[in-house]
């Protein structure tokens, strides 16, 4: 048990107020920085991939977890990011310029989608974003002169300030720097007015509006920020994949991103990272499962999407707060030892909530 005495307003604004948090986060960053020293390059590549998905997860988390706008189309922004960056790089645009342009393009397309989706809710929004994804996937395939069409597009090698970075560990550090930047920036967003207005729109559009939040504009902003970050993830993903094809960015990929944030825990940046870890371990579990299961089931084509769906359902039923929620409960258990009770986290029934004003 730890008492935290707050003596200044900064104590509520600062990250990592508790010593324990400082140690934990410090250890994670130290591990990530030192990883190339002891990890074989295969695992280092996988870790790089995890970081890229963490960025994409943070992107989707801002939109779905914090602003409450579900998107089945986020693989499209990965695709836009990956293709835009690769095409620019292949035309000789420097890496740093290309990344900025990619994020801007992806963000602008996101804002346009947000503009048209800003008056939709739930079901209709899900369908609209799904339609957007199919549109982008088809466009990437059909616009052969620019994207190489269905035969794919070869990604130019990673080069920063005309220094080629071909080694796995070099790419890994590039991913790591962007991940730290995005996680830091996204966390900043939620201790400032912009992020608070996102959360306000998620929890009650009505009172957000009466407090001066321009709800439509907030949704457009949220789509924009989310798409820009996901586009960045796409650009980094392109270097990981080194060969792009439109089918990579399909509905299943979107579902994977959603699975990541639902399992990680909606509404927290840390949840997106937990989700990325989970999604990276899933193929390992899947290959193990294939060995164990009888071939008639193990060799079935639809095993992966089935598993995705099953995991989402199980999490929604048994742990809606995701891995993040479970993590908080475990921490609470140790902090309050031995006072934890089964009912410690049973929520009261929520009070009157009318649908009258929707």
């Amino acid at each position: 048990m730890q008492f935290l005495f707050k003596t200044r307003y900064e104590d509520d604004i600062r990250f990592l107020a508790k010593t324990g948090e400082k140690i934990r986060v410090g250890m994670v960053i130290a591990f990530l920085l030192a990883a190339p020293l002891f990890l074989p390059s295969y695992y280092l590549g996988e870790l790089g991939m995890l970081l890229v998905y963490a960025i994409a997860g943070v992107g989707l988390m801002i939109l779905t977890g914090h602003t409450g706008q579900v998107s089945f189309g986020h693989a499209a922004f990965l695709g836009i990011g990956a293709y835009c960056h690769s095409i620019l790089m292949s035309h000789g645009v420097p890496f740093s310029v290309s990344v900025v342009l990619t994020m801007s393009l992806s963000g602008l397309i996101g804002m346009a989608l947000g503009r048209s989706a800003s008056r939709m809710h739930g079901f209709y929004l899900a369908i609209a974003t799904l339609a957007f994804l199919i549109l982008v996937e088809t466009a990437l395939g059909e616009w052969g002169s620019l994207t190489g069409g269905y035969s794919g597009f070869s990604v130019p090698g990673l080069k920063i300030f005309s220094v080629p970075l071909t080694q796995v560990w070099q790419q890994y550090y590039v991913d790591l720097i962007f991940t730290l930047f995005v996680v830091w920036g996204a966390s900043n967003l939620f201790r400032s007015p912009t992020g608070r207005s996102f959360v306000a729109v998620r929890d009650s559009e009505l009172s957000a509006r009466s407090l001066g939040v321009n709800v439509e504009w907030v949704k457009i902003q949220s789509f924009g920020v989310s798409a820009a970050i996901t586009g960045l993830a796409g650009a980094l993903l392109a270097h990981q994949l080194s060969y792009l094809s439109p089918e990579t960015f399909d509905v299943l990929h979107s579902l994977k991103l959603l699975l990541m944030i639902v399992v990680g825990g909606l509404g927290s940046i840390l949840g997106a990272i937990f989700g990325a870890i989970f999604i990276s371990l899933l193929p390992v579990a899947l290959s193990f499962l294939k060995d164990v299961l009888p071939p008639s089931i193990g060799e079935q084509a639809g095993l992966e999407p089935l598993l995705f769906g099953l995991i989402i359902v199980l999490f929604i039923v048994f742990e809606p707060a995701g891995i993040y929620g479970r993590w908080m409960k475990i921490r609470f258990f140790f902090e309050t030892l031995p006072y934890y009770r089964k009912s410690s986290f049973v929520r009261q029934k929520s009070y009157l909530k009318t649908e009258r004003m929707r």
Partner: protein, 257 residues
């Protein structure tokens, strides 16, 4: 802070698919007064609030606050004219803490820039601290310091009512629309509300317009009362005048045979 102004509503009407929810209602609220709107269920009291805060579009009539034509202002800019409100069914941000809710209350007065927010520049930090100080004043006024870091979903009904009132006050309004401030509260809590309303009126100089069923509270705090039924105005006057009005009694108690 700008001074309170006169709210004048003229010939206000709204229809929902043929139902006249509010029909030809006119009234003025003078600066500094406490104005109560009473009426049976479904009389159109909350609808008037929703019209003033521009959540509904009226079919006829006008609403002016001072010299500003509210019908020309979108809903999210109403708060900048100095009008804040609470809701009948408490519309707080459930998954956020009390402090975060109150900071959203200051949204209209904080600079917004996603880029500087993302980088959390020193300017953003300065503005956060400055607005936090303002929020703390309201926390002191309504004595909700013990809930500061609680999530709304963990709070009791009475505490939520206070927090919602506090959040509305955080926007530094000159006119406050209170939709049933005492509904669902016990006698003791209702007494607290009447004290706070006095404080808000006297210390902060806020004009209060409230929809309320509790006639004791209305008699205690209201300067003038407006009674409506079926969307039409029945009477405006002091609480005693309205209470003794024959039409008002008829609306509440029915026609004597």
């Amino acid at each position: 802070m700008t001074a309170a102004q006169t709210l004048s509503v003229r010939n206000l009407s709204i229809e929902f698919g043929g139902v006249h929810a509010v029909e030809d209602v006119s009234f003025d609220v003078e600066p500094g007064e406490v104005f109560a709107i009473i009426g049976p269920n479904g009389a159109g009291k909350s609808t008037i609030f929703n019209l003033i805060s521009r959540l509904y579009e009226p079919s006829a009539g006008s609403i002016h606050y001072g010299d500003q034509d509210l019908l020309k202002i979108p809903a999210h800019r109403i708060v900048q004219t100095g009008i804040a409100r609470t809701f009948q069914n408490i519309e707080l941000f459930e998954q956020a803490t009390v402090l975060q809710n109150l900071l959203v209350g200051r949204h209209s007065r904080m600079p917004q820039n996603p880029f500087s927010n993302f980088l959390f520049t020193s300017g953003v930090m300065k503005s956060e601290l400055e607005h936090r100080r303002k929020v703390e004043d309201i926390i002191d006024l309504l004595e909700i310091a013990q809930y500061r870091d609680e999530r709304i979903s963990d709070l009791s009904y009475g505490a939520r009512k206070n927090v919602e009132l506090a959040r509305a006050l955080c926007s530094e309004p000159t006119l406050l629309l209170l939709d049933e401030p005492a509904s669902g509260l016990n006698n003791e809590e209702t007494d607290d509300v009447s004290f706070w309303l006095d404080d808000i009126k006297n210390d902060l100089g806020v004009t209060l317009v409230m929809v309320e069923h509790d006639m004791n509270l209305v008699g205690l705090v209201a300067d003038r009362v407006m009674a409506i039924n079926d969307g039409r105005l029945l009477a405006i006057g002091t609480p005693d005048e309205v209470r003794s009005n024959a039409e008002v009694q008829q609306a509440y108690l029915g026609v004597s045979q």
